[in-house]
Amino acid sequence: MENQLIDHLFRYHSGKMVSVLTRIFGLSNLEIVEDAVQDTFIKASISWRKQVPENPEAWLTQAAKNRILDIFRKLKTEKNYLPNFYQGANTIAINELFLESEIEDAQLRMIFTACHPKLNAKDRIAFALKTVSGFSSKEIASALLTKEETVKKRLIRARKAILKADLQFKIPQGKSLKKRLESVLEVLYLIFNEGFHSNKKEQLIHKELCGEAMRLCKILLKNTHTRTSESYALFALMCFHAARLESKTNTQNQILDLEHQDRSLWHYPLMELGNSMMYKAVENNEFSCYHYEAAIASEHLKAKTFNATNWDKILYWYECLNSLQPMANHLLTMAVICIQKKDLQKADTYLSKLNANDFEQRKYLFYGTKSDFYAAKKDLKKAIAHINLAIETVNNQLEKEHLVKKKIKLNQK
């Protein structure tokens, strides 16, 4: 008996159906729509035990269509505005909304809704993961390393903001598209980073976050209005990072920095894909932060060994990035690169522009770099003093172990 379903079929389908049904019933009925969709999965999970339908996806879509009448009945009593699809022609129109291209259109509308500037920045991510990606509050909480209660609050707040601002379920057009697309790309970038930079034990959900960000970015690339050089650059960046995902930690789940990663584990097809996306991204000369970040990531991938890294080129890309988007993090990284290149004078100019408070929760990064700087200058006393500060301020256990190891090495010098 062939029981294998496509991985994540339910989750993907949930996002699709919530989007399509929202297009029919409007954002004001989102909660009813979400409940109805959830219901079809519960039904499927029980009734398929004995016999999986020949075409599971078609079954689910049909089930979602059947729900339309149920939702309609439920809403009718509440006298909300509703499309009158008891008329024949409207039924045809609704059927067309379930065509693959229209489903993608609906998902795109949902992405733009989730990333609307009227929503609080933190609420956007949670809301996108819930409605577009079909994660539960619990899964979102575990992915974002926060409490389930917090996620629930964010979702409620997002729904309220949508109702209050009376947001339309549309893809913005003309002038407003550019700004709104920026906000969408930013949310996708954040979702990806949450997945990529987390080192929590349950790796799986984090890999899924990366995959999800890439899947949504692909939806943007399929639409002519949202297929911009910036979107291509973001997708290229995700490909380059994702190519290294397997090599980021060792078997004991310890973090490995670029120097110690097993480069043979890097995923070649993703690097290739990233490269071809990058070609598309540079077809015009409008470069975004994603362009420079992708350029940096690809420079790392080009090096066969850590020692073969072209640091000059990477430093150049960072200079570009920092002039477009000045950030303490960029300066710190540039200092790290200069230490790497043994250009301590230049490292010092970057470091002197910074202080620990620029890094808030991540002060340890600053102290760690200072420690490296003094170690390179053979000033062991200051190096140890700074590694101690780093260890004091770090929260993440894995990062801490990494720093403690460094300290032991310093003490042996």
Binding site: M1, L9, R11, K50, V52, G134
Partner: protein, 115 residues
């Protein structure tokens, strides 16, 4: 060989707030179990039950309609299997997928009457 019924008791899926992903994973486990029993040739039959309940009780034949939210534990379905004894069925029941949701498997032997 005797016949036994494994009766599944627990909360209704709809009341547990499972995500689509969890539902799919869980379903995969049910598939696997079903396949395993079929391959071993022990499976006789089984059904899943909807959560709607109508109860008729006592000599007044009092009728109540209930839903899963009103009864914490609900019979969700059953399988009938062929096995040597209770221990053998207990072995089969190890793969029941919903123990982690607080689910229960009740094993009962089907009574055979002398002809």
């Amino acid at each position: 060989m005797k016949q036994f019924m494994m009766i599944f008791i627990g909360a209704d899926y709809a009341d547990l707030g499972l995500s689509p992903e969890e539902l799919q994973t869980r379903m995969g486990k049910w598939f696997a179990w079903n396949d395993k029993m079929q391959q071993a040739g022990v499976l006789v039959g089984g059904e899943a039950l909807t959560p709607d309940i109508r109860r008729i009780v006592g000599k007044n034949r009092t009728v109540t309609d209930l839903t899963s939210t009103e009864v914490k534990e609900i019979v969700g379905g059953y399988y009938t299997v062929k096995a040597k004894d209770f221990d053998a069925v207990q072995e089969i029941a190890q793969d029941f997928p919903d123990y982690d949701l607080g689910g229960t498997v009740e094993i009962r032997e089907i009574m055979v009457f002398d002809k």
